[in-house]
């Protein structure tokens, strides 16, 4: 048996017999009735879902930042250096004045 020929013949048979496009009586009325019977949208449910999604997003950010603070190397001297540099700079003029006075 030639399989390719059988395959082509059966495909041709499917093309020769397209399916019916008959629509059952009053089908569109049934669809509209189904749509009308759906429960109305509860605004509070939508709002609470949005809040939960927001809360989960914030929790994810907290966890990422927490993990970052635990595992990333801490440059402990940095903040102190900055405040000391600032103090040194501010007092530099005072130091200069007191030096010149002597």
């Amino acid at each position: 048996m030639n399989m390719s020929e059988l395959q082509n013949k059966l495909i041709a048979a499917a093309r020769a017999h397209p399916p019916s496009d008959r629509v059952p009586y009053a089908f569109e009325k049934r669809i509209l009735a189904r749509l009308a019977a759906r429960p109305a949208l509860d605004v509070w449910v939508v709002w609470s879902r949005a809040l939960w999604r927001g809360a989960l997003g914030c929790l994810a950010v907290v966890l990422v930042l927490g993990a970052g603070s635990l595992f990333l190397p801490v440059n402990g001297g940095g903040a102190n250096d900055l405040s000391q540099d600032f103090e040194t700079t501010m007092l530099a003029s005072v130091d200069q004045d007191s030096d010149s006075a002597w």
Binding site: M1, Q7, R15, D21, V23, L35
Partner: protein, 191 residues
């Protein structure tokens, strides 16, 4: 004057559900014909078509209007039919041993003289239906769209959401799967 499709869709989106009815009336024949390619029982066909229309109503706000509404609707219909195939794939028959007499006669006629076995015969239609029901969901979808409905690879990609290369790969596999099934018929009936 009859409202245009754009006016009907705009009215539905504003909350006038009754404006959906003319759309259902206009396109249901096409949706039913599509569903009947993938389901045999009329109850299943109606379920599929209802599902298509309910989804169309829920997702109408995603219709951008850059292509005809019919194209958007048919994409939804194809997706729904594919979901139906995947949900029912366990129910596929596993044997060709229950061929009816007309189907057996048609096959015998094909074996002895392929030209005498007409593709217009009802037995041929029943046989191809049997074969299609045994294909996997992607194979059945591709064979239906590509071979039977004669759509282009690009159209199928647009309808299914698959990439063009994926459609081609699936088409190749689908044809191989179908040939394997037909070879099984030959083994079961004639060896």
């Amino acid at each position: 004057m009859d409202p245009t499709e754009t006016e009907l869709i705009a009215a539905v989106l504003k909350g006038d559900a009754a404006s959906f009815e003319p759309l259902v009336e206009r396109y249901s024949p096409r949706v039913f014909a599509t569903a009947r390619r993938y389901a045999r029982r009329e109850s299943e066909v109606e379920d599929i078509v209802q599902e298509v229309w309910l989804k169309a109503f829920q997702k109408l706000n995603t219709f951008r209007g850059d292509a005809p509404f019919e194209h958007w609707l048919m994409r939804l219909a194809v997706h729904t039919c594919y979901d139906f195939l995947r949900a029912h794939q366990r129910n596929r028959e596993s044997t060709f041993s229950e061929l009816t007499d007309p189907e057996e006669d048609w096959l015998n006629r094909f074996v002895t003289d392929p030209g005498s076995a007409s593709e217009h015969a009802d037995a041929a239609r029943l046989l191809i239906q049997r074969v299609m029901e045994q294909l996997s969901p992607p194979a059945r979808l591709i064979i239906t769209l590509l071979e039977i409905e004669d759509r282009s690879v690009k159209e199928i990609a647009a309808l299914t959401g698959w990439s063009v290369p994926l459609v081609k790969v699936r088409a190749f596999r689908a044809r191989a799967e179908m040939r394997k099934l037909l070879a099984k018929i030959a083994r079961d009936k004639y060896l």
